[in-house]
């Protein structure tokens, strides 16, 4: 007799998933789709914007009938690379001016649409149960640290700002073999939340949304390049008008309030 452990697994998983989905809702969306051609707006956004943007999605779609927003979150560097390589995208929300400048130089964005929509600060965090007494970046003693999570400095903006800050404080070289490099800011946060690293450096907005970390210190703004979030319509986009509507909404009243709610400035 032959056994099929894999197929048993698939079937049980399928049953489980079907049980989870809400059939009524799917039917409803399908009905709406049939009434009006939907525009699917693909927004490539820096990982640090995840929660704020998810909250903005519903109200935006309600206010703009016929547009559905799909987010593609990742580190700004990676998103810039994928857009450059032709990945479909209508709006690019970056966590660094540098990535946006590169895009502008290569004419990958609509230059007139570019706008800075948020600011952020760099904070030094630890797990909420930690008894660390560090209260400023200058207090950091590399010898007393096992691991510190930071963004990868070449591709993740938060990593670049962190590197600038630590270099400014002559801490970057002494910290070299303590650094765990995250592939985006959320991964850095997760390392700290799970208590696997002693400390981490993230944006204040990320520390703000997490209940499991506490902020020990905030970096002085002139230690690093200003952390501004530039947004622009992608040049290759087929939905230029909808993309611009999204940017207007983001920089408008509702957008600004939502961003503030999640710790942006």
């Amino acid at each position: 007799m032959k056994r099929f452990p894999l197929s048993t697994l698939f079937i049980s998983l399928a049953i489980f998933l079907v049980g989870c989905s809400n059939t009524n809702e799917t039917e409803k969306t399908r009905a709406i789709e049939q009434e009006k051609p939907e525009t699917e707006l693909i927004v490539s956004a820096a990982a640090s914007l995840t929660d704020a943007l998810e909250e903005l999605k519903g109200p935006f779609e309600e206010a703009h009938e016929g547009i559905t927003v799909t987010y593609n979150f990742g580190s700004s560097g990676k998103l810039a690379t994928t857009i450059e390589n032709g990945a479909p995208s209508d709006v690019f929300l970056s966590a660094s001016s540098q990535d946006m400048n590169n895009m502008e130089d290569k004419s990958l964005i609509v230059n007139e649409s570019r706008i800075d929509f948020a600011e952020n600060a760099l904070v030094f965090i630890t797990h909420k149960d930690s008894d660390s007494t560090i209260s400023s970046f200058e207090d950091i003693d590399p010898a007393a640290i096992d691991h510190i999570a930071v963004g990868e400095p070449e591709s993740v903006p938060v990593g670049r700002y962190t590197k600038e800050t630590f270099e400014r404080l002559d801490l970057w070289d002494p910290l070299q073999d303590k650094l765990v490099l995250g592939s985006d800011v959320r991964q850095v946060l997760t390392h700290v939340e799970m208590g696997n690293v002693d400390y981490g450096v993230v944006y204040s907005s990320d520390a703000f949304i997490s209940d499991n970390v506490k902020v020990l210190a905030e970096a002085t703004a002139d230690w690093h390049e200003p952390i501004v979030y530039p947004a622009a319509v992608v040049a290759e986009s087929n939905n230029q008008e909808a993309a611009q509507q999204f940017l207007d909404y983001l920089t408008g009243d509702k957008g600004e309030k939502t961003l503030q709610k999640f710790g942006f400035k």
């Binding site: 697994l9 990676k78 691991h147 990868e152 073999d177 208590g195």
Partner: protein, 227 residues
Amino acid sequence: MLEMDYSPLLLSLKVAAISTFFVFVAGVFIAYLLAKRDFFGKSILEALFLLPLVLPPTVVGFGLLILFGKKGWIGSWLLEWFDFQIVFTWIGAVIASIVVSFPLMYQSAAAAFESLDERLSNAARTMGASESRVFWSVVFPLAWPGLLAGLVLSFARGLGEFGATLMLAGYIPGKTDTIPMAIYFAVESGQMEKATFWVVMIITFGFSLILWVNWWSKRNIRRFTKS
């Protein structure tokens, strides 16, 4: 010539080799134990073994973090009693590799043992061979082509492991940067030359490995069948 740090190559080979060793021993042992045996819950056990094959690597990585993290079930215990940390070390990379490549080894070994002709082992037994003699002189040589396939697959899978490794071993240049990790971060930061170098490297290596194994196993099977 490109200025290159070769540590990812050595690290990848070390991680894949060590994990393949453990996976081979455990996979062969467990598969032999379960082969030709039927008991309640066997399919469930087998499904459990094969689960890492169908799960996204990030899920595996998350599970491993829950187990081996500093505050994890096993991790906190190791830390407390042995002051030993798995997360963010190359050993973490070995564990991630073991977990994702074990299903491949198990499946190949189980298939190899299932397809053996029981009469051959029984013949050996009637001639007074001990169970270990039966295994080493009859079962193992006969199952070898299948076991070898599992071995190669496991090694290749370990060499290419990325997702779970990134979560458990982190990315610490010079310590836990395996080739797939080096490729990922080189691509992300737009260092295409560096990425291309490692891609060519890993393809060349994987290709030669398969060629060599095929040649070697053909030669060995001939030797077994002749004697």
